[in-house]
Symmetry: C2
Subunit: 296 residues, 2 copies
């Protein structure tokens, strides 16, 4: 068994010091300076053993990567530049050996996006959980509200690959499947869409479910061309429509920005409610399950 | 079983909308505006079933209160004005009935300090956990670094009462003990100490342990007069010295501000390292355990 102070030192070792950090990790509070003209964009997301990952399939570094990646994906949808994050770890007292690996995987992704660890917390608990709060800056952050009828629906990234990967892992495939183990948050795509996209959401719980959230929040419906969907390697159309954890980004883009937008156009927002699917020019039924709900 | 969207609606119901919130709860990211001249002060702390609370003794409202209180206590030590917070909940799918109570207790404390819920997350998990990231503003936030020899050690709040309360609960006392169940974060005391105290820490893991952290971070030692300690109702000196969860505040105050400072003066920072105790003018041995470590 190891003391909390040693745990903290071990965890902090691989991380760089951030920008505009007045008080960094190791104190009870962190203090940062938000740049003038920027809003502070914040999001929190947890990775829980059993619910989100399984030690049989994930290395500690992959768990660390994924815990931060799912948060950076939310900042990407908002069009925010990642800057800082806090990390609360719940872990069994016997689990200290995994901590350096978790920190290493997390630090590598953090360094790639210039996102600094500024604070955190350790708690003894039965199951592992890593709860990250990521902070970024954007002059005019996007939300899921703002799509209008006539806007195009664009996708960045691919759909279904993470679910296909999970199926392979469960089937005992020896090759770790990258989309499931180390999802890539599309931070640059999120920044590139600044000024062009009017609403956005990242696909964490499935294309249809997250698209429906964007539609409901914006008060519009949408028509999707299934033939245009960027389906990930090894994935079926059903996995692309309903599988979670893709961390692709969905955008609404008004007609005047359609040509400038870099991404795959897969549909059009319309008056009304809900999602309508088309395949080979014909209406197609929605799959019975439209995605992942943590509770239902 | 209840859907995630319903859980979110139910949880958000009792909360007020905050100040300078561009994007509030219900989206994947929140966006806020930090005031000019202010630093953003952030802290994260988790309340975990089994480790920090037990449903036999806590009502849901008390759990909600305490989860936020322990975070506001950190902001208080930093001298920050609480503004916003994010709340990640891990809960068993069968636990939805407790959610409204948790939200109610949390919202009451949040409203008292003008601190707005701006985001969060729900995850299905085996044990309950509530991980809050609290955000505040301060022009010059304090940390545990900055005490100098010759500074006085001041305490706001009382020591040992939470531990005495926990002992009563464990002994089956029927009266819920307030200090343990609903600790009060000393936000106003933290703000009043702006410009007077040079370093501060809140007593979450025990007076001696947290005082030692402040000393180590500041590179000084300290001499404490045990007879001056503000020992809480029902608590022994040992509980006051080593018991955790008091959420009292410890401050270093330079001689020039000593008279203006409102609090109990209990010692003096000195050259060297570590804590020396005095009782009836005589040196006193340190208790064998100096406080609570979550892992050691």
């Amino acid at each position: 068994v190891i003391s909390e102070a040693r745990l903290i030192d071990r965890f902090l070792a691989p991380f760089d010091r951030g920008t505009r950090v007045a008080i960094g990790p190791g104190s009870d509070c962190a203090a940062i300076e938000v740049a003038r003209g920027q809003k502070l964009v914040s999001t929190t997301d947890a990775l829980v053993e059993g619910a989100h990952f399984d030690w049989r399939w994930f290395t500690p570094a992959q768990v660390g990567h994924k815990a931060l990646a799912v948060n950076l994906s939310d900042l990407a949808a908002a069009g925010a530049q990642p800057r800082w994050f806090l990390c609360a770890v719940g872990m069994p007292p016997s689990g200290a050996a995994r901590l350096s690996g978790i920190a290493r995987g997390m630090a590598r992704l953090a360094a790639r996006h210039g996102c600094a660890l500024i604070g955190g917390n350790f708690t003894a608990s039965k199951e592992w959980s890593i709860t990250i709060t990521a902070l970024g800056e954007a002059p005019r952050p996007r939300s899921r509200i703002g799509a209008r009828k006539g806007d195009s629906l664009f996708v960045n990234g691919v759909l279904g690959a993470a679910t296909a990967g999970l199926a392979s892992l469960r089937a005992g495939a020896r090759q770790a499947v990258k989309a499931q183990l180390t999802p890539v948050p599309l931070v640059e795509a999120g920044l590139a869409a600044r000024g062009l996209a009017t609403a956005a959401i990242d696909v964490s719980d499935g294309f249809l479910r997250d698209l429906l959230r964007l539609c409901d929040a914006s008060g519009v419906g949408v028509e999707v061309d299934c033939d245009a969907l960027p389906i990930g390697p090894g994935a079926t159309l059903d996995q692309a429509l309903s599988g979670g954890e893709d961390y692709a980004l969905l955008f609404s883009v008004p007609p005047r920005h359609r040509r400038a937008f870099r991404g795959v156009e897969v549909g059009r927002f319309v008056q009304g409610r809900g999602v309508k699917l088309f395949q080979n020019g014909q209406p197609r039924a929605l799959p019975r399950s439209i995605g992942f709900d943590h509770f239902a």
